[in-house]
């Protein structure tokens, strides 16, 4: 019934690279990172140059094609160049800020779930408080008080987005902490830090991959909302979320202005997910053979 085909043992990296989907994901990530890093070399136009020939006589943007690979936006700027430069902002937000939020959330959730007692209770109630707190208001205040910048928006996102992760991680940690192998570690005299980092965190990886990769899209779009409120990067600096937000009412008149950056966000999130999924399968010994 089943063919016997032997495959020799291979290291995790080799095994990762053997997966087509993971390779596809890696390729996209490299493409985006490369595009962001080498934007000045690749971009056909400066990202904020409002080109005279970029608008029609009636002030309409140009559709993709011709000089403009992805068309132009409402100010006659080359969309392709803006997408390339926008990748810088969006990578920082989607990967760094989202990553920081994930780390904070994981730490809080894991500590609260593992240590319990009054410390855990205080952490969780603090999480509840943050969850109930209107994040946009915080953003507006920060916007009005500080000079808006990418780092502020990254900070706000990290401050706001860890909450959900914390709650989910908390639930999972509490049940993990009840598992017998944790008790076994305690009898070995393992310190709490060791149990946390060596034995609990690795088990949270699958959940974190789901949350982390879905979080990319969410934070990239959130960045646009925050920028709109004045917290984030200010025009004319492009970001993928911004490009969508600036142009979303034009989705019928100039669909490329919405769908191209949308597709970019989607691809980035998807690529990270593919790599993440593959990594999990490769690293998780219990998954071997199964599937």
């Amino acid at each position: 019934m089943v063919e016997a085909t032997a495959i020799p043992h291979a290291g995790p990296l080799r095994r990762l690279l053997r997966r087509k989907l993971a390779l596809f994901g890696l390729a996209i990530i490299f493409l985006v990172v490369g595009g962001a890093v080498f934007a000045p070399l690749i971009a056909p136009f400066p990202p904020d140059e409002q080109l005279f020939e970029g608008l029609t006589l009636f002030g309409e943007p140009m559709p993709p094609g011709g000089d403009f690979l992805m068309g132009t936006d409402l100010l006659g700027r080359d969309l392709f160049s803006r997408i390339l430069y926008g990748a810088r902002t969006s990578l920082i937000i989607g990967v760094v800020a989202n990553g920081v939020a994930l780390v904070i959330g994981t730490l809080v959730g894991v500590l609260a779930g593992f240590i319990r007692g009054w410390f855990g209770a205080v952490l969780m109630r603090f999480t509840d408080l943050m969850m109930a707190f209107p994040a946009l208001l915080l953003a507006i205040c920060l916007a009005a008080i500080f000079q808006p910048s990418l780092w502020i928006v990254a900070m706000v996102i990290a401050l706001v987005n860890w909450v959900q992760t914390a709650r989910v991680v908390y639930t999972e940690t509490t049940s993990l902490a009840e598992r017998e192998f944790i008790a076994a570690e305690k009898t070995l005299g393992a310190s709490r830090t060791r149990i946390l980092f060596r034995h609990i965190l690795p088990h949270l990886v699958p959940t974190l991959i789901v949350w982390g990769t879905l979080g990319i899209s969410v934070t990239v779009l959130l960045e646009a909302t925050l920028s709109f409120l004045g917290v984030g990067v200010q025009p004319p600096t492009p970001s993928w979320g911004n490009i969508i937000f600036e142009n979303q009412t034009y989705f019928q008149a100039a669909p490329w202005l919405v769908f191209i950056p949308g597709a970019a966000i989607l691809l980035l999130a998807l690529a990270f997910n593919l790599v993440g999924d593959a990594l999990r399968d490769v690293l998780d010994p219990t998954q071997r053979g199964a599937d």
């Binding site: 032997a6 008790a183 005299g189």
Partner: protein, 595 residues
Amino acid sequence: MIVGAKPIAAPLSGAATPLLCVRDLTVSVRDRGTVRPLVSDLSFDLHAGETLAIAGESGSGKSITSLALMGLLPNNVAVTSGHADLEGIDLPALPEAQMRPLRGAKVAMIFQEPMTSLNPVHTIGAQLSEAILAHETISRRDARAKAIEALARVRIPEPERRLKQYPHELSGGMRQRVMIAMALAMRPALLIADEPTTALDVTVQREVLDLLRDLQQETGTAIILITHDMGVVAECADRVVVMKSGRMVESGKVLDVFARPAKSYTRDLLAAVPRLGAGAKRGAPQPPAAQVPVARLVNAKVHFDLGANFLGRPTHRVHAVEGVSFDIRPGEIFGLVGESGCGKSTIAKALAGLVRHDGHIEVSGQQLSSLTAQGRKQICRDIQMVFQDPMAALDPRMTVGEAVAEPLLIHGVGTAAERHARAAELFDRVGLTPHQMSRYPHEFSGGQRQRICVARALALKPKLIICDESVSALDVSVQARVLALLEELREEMGVSYLFISHDMAVVENIVDRLAVMYLGQIVEMGTRDQVFGDPRHPYTQRLLDAVPIPDPARKGRPHIRPAGAQPSPIRPLGDPPAQLALRDIGAGHLVAALS
């Protein structure tokens, strides 16, 4: 049809056609691209009303065989050749859609893990009547009536009330009985019981086995009983199939096989079976040394609070351990026996510092409750624990080599290379090969995992090892090896043990002294000879009486069935149970006064 070259379990009565006819069954697993057989060329017959035991070491393919018959193999495992005909229908070849109506109706199965085999979110009643409704077109109310009847048949008290309860509200034994009730409610032609009693203590095991037998007599169901306990085989089965590494080693009538095992493996297996009374032959335990005890409990208590009133105060309290005192002397094996839920594990946990306790517990002269974090860590070097379920006690994401070296790392012993060398040495010590160190726990069999846990416990050269049901899940041969290992280590390193088990035979074979617990308190304590040779407390007597005897010739002796509902350690707050006073009846043999 019959392949003569292979040993085939001979039919009990040659005339009748067998109910189940298994021929050359091969089940293989697809693993990392290779296909590896788990069960090879298995053949046997089974007739109506008969009980066939499948015995053999852990990982020999017993469960896989039964899953193959049910058509419930895991995704990556499949029947690759051979067939298994039930009343002429080849079960493994049936497509899922046709197999489904047969499940439950024709073949039913009681799974190995009773604790996890019931759905936690549905009531017992729902799960029972669902099984009935799946195969009969009757009204819900009739199904309910049948469910009550089925529960009554497995002698669960107050069946109507139980219907509304959830699995977690029942004890392990009850859950097992529910599983049996469920399987039997459909009156299958064939019932497969996969280690139905492994997780149960002797008294409950006794009840379950009796039940199966009674029911078989009533309904004429054929039973395949999978077990590693030769006592159970001897008591319950008509015929036996012995398996090893996925192959059948020997088969035949139980009486014959036990009396005249043909194969050396079977002989070894039978020889390894611990027998009650065999321990006495081992000679008297060493006289109690006058040294400081490694561990000492004085009036130790552990309570768990339950429920909450509107101020958040608990309303009930579990008196899990209620005033227990004993010491463990250096080099001694101290046994702790008692039925499920009597507080054995809780004592172990209190000693290991995993639960809070009241009273006085001291380990190598230091009182536990007054320790600092550093001191607690230090104590861990002296006291180690081997858990009941080795799979659960190992981090599934860590290689076993790392796991064994971990205690050394935690306590900062040696360099990485030294630790590795020490781990390799320990692997050797417990009968594993060092090149297995890079594997993960799920890649080992149950017995091997247990040995890994022992190796981990030994890494720090502790003074005391707590073994909480450490050998219960192992087949006899592996069990014997592990026990021998413990014994050896004691001799070599002078380690003491706290040995917790429900298997009286094992206990008798290994311990020097023991305590019998009931509802959180010790009812009898003394040396092995005192307690086994002269049990005074009625509870001890009942416990000993329930032990199955691995001798088919002594089948069917009458048992005292415990009557009425069991008393519970859960009491309202402010209503502690009465403390039993222990009376010395000579030479340190302590017995509680009868209440």
